[in-house]
């Protein structure tokens, strides 16, 4: 509580040298995770064959594209002190639903739109139940996670739904300027949600709600509406991720995206988004997503045994947050 007061107040006169030092540390603090990632990246490039190649980079980006998209909206969700476990199911359901509708109507566009609307609807239900009925977000989204997964199975009879229209596959496999469409969409999401978070009322209100919901409410922020919007958009983006995944796989699969939600949340938390709300940066989330993807990618390249991959993944996760934590120790009383 007391740590940084002096700096902000500027009442204790600092020497220019110590000020510069403080600013440097501040920068290291703010970007420590990025530095960790850069270090990791450099080490891997130097030691792992094929790691630093265009093919591999393109593949790496593609592999995190779904997680990356949804991490953007999950960032909002966590920043407002909420939680969403239903995204993995939404990914699956949207893919299946898109395929079914596209097959039935013969139109890919209609299929995609239907899936997006369905995803937004799932999000709307989540948001309405959580904000209006005031039910714990964990339980609510756990429930919708089950329900939506069930819907995915029911509507597909548990089978993958292939799409006959070839146009559909372009979404997932076409490539623009050397990167595939899903990667571009993910980059777009990073940019869009970065601006949303930092530059718009919506983003600032989200942070305010997460930082202190009462204060936000008392200041006249339409707390319920913002929370519902957050979930709605999350549902929409999860559906988009699902559609893209289905397009990449040329079929909608009802058991896709299992464990997706934990990956997304981990990426966010790794990226410094506070589960207690109020704190989030898009750069952190991007790095979080990249670290997760890079570790997995490098392990595959290094041909690490499947069983040992668990151990390595866990250890790296721990080390990354640990190093990131060191700054807080330095700051602590």
């Amino acid at each position: 509580m007391t740590d940084t007061r002096a700096t902000a107040l500027g009442t204790t006169p600092d020497s220019p040298a110590s000020r510069r030092r403080a600013m440097l540390w501040q920068m290291v603090d703010d970007y420590s995770l990025i530095l960790i990632f850069v270090a990791l990246f450099v080490v891997l490039s130097a030691t792992v064959q094929y790691f630093f190649s265009w093919d591999n980079m393109a593949g790496l980006l593609l592999s995190v594209s779904q997680i990356g998209m949804v991490a953007c909206t999950m960032m909002f969700c966590l920043a407002s002190r909420d939680f969403d476990l239903s995204v993995g199911s939404t990914v699956a359901f949207a893919g299946v639903f898109c395929a079914i509708v596209a097959n039935a109507t013969g139109s890919v566009v209609v299929g995609v739109l239907a899936a997006l609307v369905a995803g937004a609807l799932v999000g709307l239900v989540n948001g309405a139940v959580i904000a209006k009925l005031r039910i714990n977000a964990l339980i609510t989204t756990l429930a919708t996670m089950e329900i939506v997964r069930g819907l995915a199975f029911i509507s597909s009879h548990g089978q993958a739904v292939g799409v006959s229209n070839e146009a559909f596959f372009a979404l997932g496999s076409a490539s623009v300027a050397g990167l595939s469409v899903p990667v571009w969409i993910t980059l777009g999401c990073f940019a869009l949600f970065g601006v949303l978070l930092n530059k718009t009322i919506y983003g600032r209100n989200t942070l305010a709600i997460g930082g202190n919901p009462d204060a936000a409410r008392l200041a006249g922020v339409a707390v319920d509406r913002v929370r519902i919007a957050i979930f709605l958009i999350q549902g929409l983006v999860a559906a988009l991720a699902g559609v893209i995944l289905a397009s990449r796989m040329t079929s909608g699969q009802p058991n896709a995206g299992q464990g997706f939600e934990l990956n997304v949340i981990s990426a966010c938390v790794l990226g410094g988004v506070s589960l207690m709300g109020g704190r989030a940066t898009i750069s952190g989330v991007i790095v979080g997503v990249l670290i997760m993807g890079t570790v997995q990618n490098a392990m595959s390249l290094m041909n690490i045994d499947a069983f040992y991959q668990y151990v390595v993944r866990g250890t790296i996760l721990l080390i990354a947050v640990l190093v990131d934590q060191l700054k807080n120790r330095r700051q602590a009383r």
Binding site: M1, T2, T4, R5, T7, A8, L9, G10, T11, V195, K199, T200, I201, R204, N205, L207, A208, G211, N212, D214, A215, A216, R217, L218, A219, G220, V221, A222, G278, R279, R333
Partner: protein, 509 residues
């Protein structure tokens, strides 16, 4: 000055489970006036303000603005009607900047994006015009409590509300900040705003208010159209229902050997080594302006902050630097100033909050909690300090601010093996009657041989209660005064950073 009331409360009633917070209460406030609202802790003042702010819907009665009944269904309604309430419990967003907190809910935009430049310029302008010295870009969590409180006040003012309610706004303000606030309030009055001002400091009421209402136990007991000619004693009498003769009630005591010895203590927040001693039976008052470093010094003494160097001992036994439990076992306890952050455990009962530390002294078989003893302890202090709660099982967050403070204080009074008691702003937000009780408790402890350290920002309180006064300034102990030598001028002169011109705050409860 005989305009119709801008704001009127009519027959307001409000119940909570087990508590009747307000019972058929009404009063009215004229435009261009400051209306004082007084009452004991738990009398219902804050509840009334929450009704005004749209947070609570009254069970009975109504609020009227300009004679027109209004029914707020949320804070947004109240804001739209031109009402701004500054709450007793500060409501800010720690991670956001001063500017964003001030404009929360109404940030200016350009092309859909927040126009930071314009917002900053606007806020800077207004802060300058108001004469408030705050950096609009600093995050709230970087500010002192007093500065956060200033942000709250400015936030309300910036809304250009016509009705303004201030619920204990000065409880954490420095002397200078208080003066700024007073000036702001007087300006606003001149602009014709209707204001409600809640405080337990009667001199503030006399200094600011044109009229006043007194609550007791959720009912209105007195209305004063004017405070001209009304005496302090009258107000106190109506508030607490009895006469409080000499508020300090000080009696000289014998002092024993040195109990607490602090030698060259430093911590991250206390860079310069500090030393002092307190004898058994002695009450030492620590005075300083806000930010003088008193709290930080005591946190280091207690072990709440890591001690970097120096020795602390109780009756000659050393207290290890980071071991709070060590300190407590040796009888050294510390009651922190920030009630909400460091004091109460909100979702736990009053009894739990009182017994959390002392319970280790009466465990059964070293593990099991002795509920009977704990219930007795809790009830004792609830009665002794007049903690207003339906029962000891009530969650403490549901108590009024002052009553929470009393419960936290009880936690330490309940320590059996108490040898050194450090209290940081023990009477902040506490009503006159309860203050009197707390002083009595301090004397009683001192008489039993406890060494007492009291940090307070209210000079008269320090002077009235202490056997010895220590003044701090800029993180250093700068002067000591025996009771006889300590006067307001001398202590204040010592506590002020050199150069600053003193204008003593005339605070007597």
């Amino acid at each position: 000055m005989h305009s119709a009331p801008r704001l009127a409360f009519r027959h307001i009633g409000k119940r909570f489970p087990g508590v009747r917070a307000l019972d058929d209460v009404g009063f009215s406030v004229r435009a261009g006036s400051v209306h004082g609202l007084l009452g004991e802790n738990g009398a219902g003042k804050s509840t009334m303000m929450k009704i005004l702010g749209g947070e609570y819907v009254p069970d009975d009665g109504e609020v009227a603005i300009d004679g027109q009944a209004v029914a707020f269904r949320g804070a947004a309604d109240a804001i739209a009607a031109g009402v701004a309430v500054i709450h007793q419990e500060l409501q800010y967003v720690p991670e956001l900047s001063v500017m964003e907190n001030l404009l929360l809910g109404r940030l200016p935009t350009r092309l859909g994006l927040v126009d930071r430049r314009r917002a900053l310029a606007f806020v800077r302008d207004r802060l300058d015009a108001l004469g408030v010295d705050l950096d609009p870009r600093a995050k709230l969590k970087q500010l002192s409590i007093g500065q956060r409180q200033m942000v709250e006040i400015v936030k309300a003012i910036l809304r250009d509300a016509t009705i303004l309610a201030l619920d204990e706004p000065t409880s954490s303000l420095s002397h200078r900040e208080t003066e700024v606030l007073f000036r702001l309030v007087r300006d606003l009055r001149a602009q014709g705003k209707a204001m409600i001002y809640i405080s337990h400091r009667l001199d503030e009421i006399f200094a600011l208010c044109d009229a006043a209402t007194i609550f007791r136990d959720g009912r209105k007991v007195a209305d004063f159209d004017t405070l001209q000619g009304v005496s302090r004693e009258t107000l106190v009498q109506r508030m607490v229902g009895r006469d409080i003769g000499d508020i300090w009630g000080y009696r000289p005591r014998e002092h024993g050997p040195v109990r607490l010895s602090v030698q060259g203590v430093t911590s991250r927040a206390v860079p310069l080594p500090a030393s002092f001693q307190v004898r058994a039976g002695e009450i030492v008052g620590f005075f300083g302006l806000v930010g003088a470093g008193r709290s930080e010094l005591m946190r280091a003494v207690y072990g709440a902050d890591r001690r970097l160097s120096g020795e602390v001992s109780v009756d000659g036994k050393a207290v290890r630097p980071t071991h709070i439990r060590d300190a407590i076992r040796l009888g050294l306890v510390f009651c922190p100033e920030d009630r909400k952050e460091d004091g109460i455990i909100g979702v736990r009962s009053v009894s739990e909050n009182i017994n959390i530390s002392a319970r280790r002294n009466h465990l059964v078989a070293g593990l099991f909690v002795n509920d009977r003893v704990e219930a007795r302890t809790a009830d004792t202090y609830i009665e002794r300090l007049r903690i207003r709660t339906p029962n000891r099982r009530q969650e403490i967050r549901l108590l009024s601010g002052g009553n929470q403070q009393k419960a936290v204080l009880s936690r330490w009074l309940a320590e059996k093996n108490l040898r050194v008691l450090i209290v940081d702003e023990p009477t902040r937000g506490i009503d006159v009657g309860a203050k009197n009780e707390i002083y009595a408790v301090l004397y009683e402890l001192a008489a039993r041989g406890v060494a007492v350290v009291m940090i307070s920002s209210e000079l008269p309180e320090v002077l009235g209660v202490s056997d010895r006064v220590i003044a701090m300034s800029r993180g250093r102990i700068v002067a000591q005064f025996a009771r006889g030598e300590a006067s307001e001028e001398r202590v204040l002169a010592a506590a002020l950073p050199e150069g600053a011109a003193p204008s003593a705050r005339q605070v007597t409860p």
